[in-house]
């Protein structure tokens, strides 16, 4: 198991290097930050300034050297490269990641709980009214654009806040930002501040994810419920509850680890949109600004960090799979 883990970690390195090269190519193809920055400057800046900025952005070096310098600088000195905005890229990504991971993890947990609950009920009462309504709700969420769910929730919360304020004088649901402008200084105050700001974005991201997962739980559970060993468990006279939770569910949920890991990249995509609606300053804002300014090294750093998380997530899922499923052994 340990050998397998180490081998997988080493296998991840070439994938990340190729992925970072691809993102470097992407960032160069997508445009030139210096031209973008000075495009609308009037009067146009002198050539000396342009040359200096290009030099500072390492754009005067040959194409492949730029990539090598970036990679070597990152590996040897922890230098993430220059930003046209003067961002400290490493710490900027760190701050943004802390914000976005809160959202993604909370959404994942809620989506998993919801998907398991509705998947179990749906599979247990297949083709019943409950099953049909869960299926229909899932389909609707699957068809809804992320930003619309978010916008609807936000609108609803604002209406609720307005009516609440007129009678009680406070606005209980936070609709803007990842924290208050002046957050409380004590630990518990800060945590509850984060928590109240998390509610709406988490719900909107969780609902999208829930829709896909609940279909999966239902399908996988139905397959298991039709298998011989579950029939045996029933024939032994076990209670339906025991058959479901002790026998069927354990097997049915094993593939969920893989599905969850495969959703990580999509969750970051969903988080970008959700953060936009609720005006969070997380990974979403960071990458949208970077793309708009063609801020090459920010884009590359962002993609590298997200790629690393996706790859690590997949490795963890593989390991969990082996722990949960006794039929699989990694030698």
């Amino acid at each position: 198991m340990l050998v397998f883990t180490i081998r997988r970690l080493f296998q991840a390195i070439p994938i990340l290097i190729v992925s970072s090269f691809l993102s470097f190519w992407l960032a160069t193809v997508s445009g030139d930050p210096v031209t973008q920055k000075f495009a609308l400057r009037n009067p146009p800046p002198s050539k000396a300034i342009l040359d200096l900025t290009r030099h500072n952005m390492r754009l005067d070096r040959p194409w492949i050297t730029q990539y090598w310098d970036w990679l070597w600088g990152l590996v040897s000195r922890g230098d993430w490269g220059p930003s046209i905005d003067g961002l400290q890229i490493g710490s900027a990504i760190g701050t943004a990641l802390a914000v976005t991971l809160r959202l993604i993890l909370a959404a994942m947990i809620i989506a998993l709980v919801l998907a398991m609950a509705s998947g179990i009920i749906s599979a247990y009462r297949q083709y019943s009214k409950v099953d049909y309504s869960f299926t229909f709700v899932g389909f609707v969420f699957l068809a809804m654009p992320t930003f619309w769910i978010a916008a609807l929730l936000k609108e609803g919360a604002i209406q609720f806040n307005n009516s609440w304020q007129s009678s009680f004088g406070t606005r209980p649901i936070q609709t803007v930002g990842q924290q208050s402008i002046v957050p409380p200084t004590d630990f518990f105050g800060r945590m509850s501040d984060y928590g109240t700001h998390l509610v709406l974005p988490t719900i909107s991201l969780a609902l999208i994810t829930y829709a896909a997962w609940s279909r999966f739980v239902r399908g996988s559970l139905l397959e298991v419920l039709n298998s011989d060993y579950v029939r045996l468990a029933r024939a032994k006279g076990l209670t339906p509850r025991r058959v479901m939770f002790r026998h069927a569910l354990r097997t049915a949920l094993i593939p969920m680890t893989t599905v969850t890991a495969l959703t990580i990249a999509a969750l970051f995509g969903g988080a970008i949109i959700t953060e936009r609606v609720f005006q969070w300053r997380g990974m979403g804002t960071l990458i949208i600004n970077a793309i708009n300014e063609r801020d090459r090294y920010v884009i590359m750093g962002w993609l590298l960090v997200v790629g690393l998380i996706v790859v690590l997530g997949n490795i963890i899922a593989d390991l969990l799979y082996a722990v949960l499923d006794p039929r699989i052994r990694y030698e």
């Binding site: 070439p14 994938i15 990340l16 190729v18 992925s19 691809l22 993102s23 992407l26 960032a27 193809v29 997508s30 445009g31 083709y127 389909f139 609707v140 699957l142 068809a143 809804m144 654009p145 992320t146 930003f147 619309w148 916008a151 609108e155 604002i158 495969l262 990249a265 999509a266 970051f268 995509g269 970008i272 949109i273 936009r276 979403g284 990458i287 949208i288 793309i291 708009n292 063609r294 884009i299 962002w302 993609l303 997200v306 790629g307 996706v310 790859v311």
Partner: protein, 321 residues
């Protein structure tokens, strides 16, 4: 002179195989008749029967076809022109303007239909591109297996580490954000899913007897992949294509919403939502109608895909009610 011509009712009474009176062997009978006639059912007809029993899917299919017709033919049928400006700006929905008018006085129905037109164009291109490239890719990887499979799938892994929203966004932003660049970019990033799905199905059929038989008859690898393996995954591919359409419409909408997809003057449902996101409180219809359109398109496409999946699943023959 054979026997059958002399006895007109031969087909019904005795069928083929009766002893021949003359020494010559009779020509092979055209149709084999049995005592208990079993109607031969092809796979396609069984799938069709099962699909037709799926009422929601059939309803969605009819609805979707009508929707496509309306969207593509609306300028001809209803004389709706998206560039015509009426003299009434910011009207809420009424009988004359079912979706109201925007702040410039455009009839919003025309704008939404044009946006849907663009979104559907994108979705169809993405679905075709993803299937056309992803399916052979996955089939080749699964068929050859071993090192080739490992390398090809590592490439897929690499692409999956990059969130498509960012990749497409960064490139679309540079290439001026026209609808066809966004379509091509979504296709370029979207085929990996089709490749994985195809690979999975091909892996499960490639060791079956018919492939061995084809190989024993001397069929080339190309022939086996394209004539034997790909037809076997057609069903899965069609289902996947319906998913691709829904995903592409949602992806384009999300991309345009964060301002990285299609840019004005080009339009789409996502662009309409993005342009009107600040009007939610004052003129909500401008934001809600494009969103409702997206939901309606994706919902009907997903129902069709679900019905097809059930119909194509041979295990469903007797289980389905």
């Amino acid at each position: 002179m054979s026997e059958t011509t002399s006895r007109p009712s031969a087909e019904e009474s005795e069928g083929a195989g009766g002893p021949s009176a003359v020494g010559l062997a009779p020509p092979p009978p055209e149709k084999v008749e049995r005592e208990f006639t079993v109607k031969e059912r092809s796979q396609a007809s069984m799938v069709l029967t099962r699909f037709l029993r799926h009422r929601l899917a059939i309803g969605s299919l009819i609805f979707f076809i009508l929707l496509v017709l309306v969207v593509y033919l609306s300028p001809v049928i209803f004389h709706l022109n998206y560039s015509t400006i009426t003299d009434q700006a910011s009207l809420s929905p009424s009988f004359k303007y079912p979706m109201g008018t925007d702040e410039l006085g455009h009839n919003y129905v025309a704008l939404v239909l044009r946006g849907a037109h663009q979104s559907m164009n994108i979705a169809f291109i993405v679905a075709i591109m993803s299937s056309a490239f992803g399916a052979p890719y996955g089939a080749i990887a699964a068929y050859y297996g071993g090192k080739i499979d490992a390398i090809m799938m590592r490439i897929v892994d690499v692409i999956l580490t990059l969130p498509f929203l960012v990749v497409t966004g960064a490139l679309a932003e540079h290439y001026s954000g026209t609808w066809y660049t966004v379509a091509i970019l979504l296709g370029v990033t979207g085929w990996v899913i089709n490749a994985r799905v195809t690979r999975g199905v091909v892996l499960s059929v490639r060791n079956q007897e018919f492939v061995e038989a084809a190989r024993a008859l001397g069929a080339s690898d190309t022939r086996i992949i394209f004539r034997h393996l790909i037809p076997n995954v057609t069903g899965t591919l069609i289902v996947q294509a319906t998913l691709d359409i829904a995903t592409a419409i949602l992806a384009e909408a999300g991309l345009s919403f964060i301002g990285l997809g299609i840019h004005a003057p080009d339009t789409s449902l996502g662009v309409l939502a993005q342009q009107s996101q600040n009007a939610i409180e004052t003129r909500p219809w401008l934001f809600y109608f494009p969103c409702v359109m997206i939901v309606v398109i994706c919902l009907s496409i997903n129902f069709i895909g679900d019905g097809l999946r059930d119909a194509l699943d041979p295990r469903q023959t007797r289980q389905r009610r």
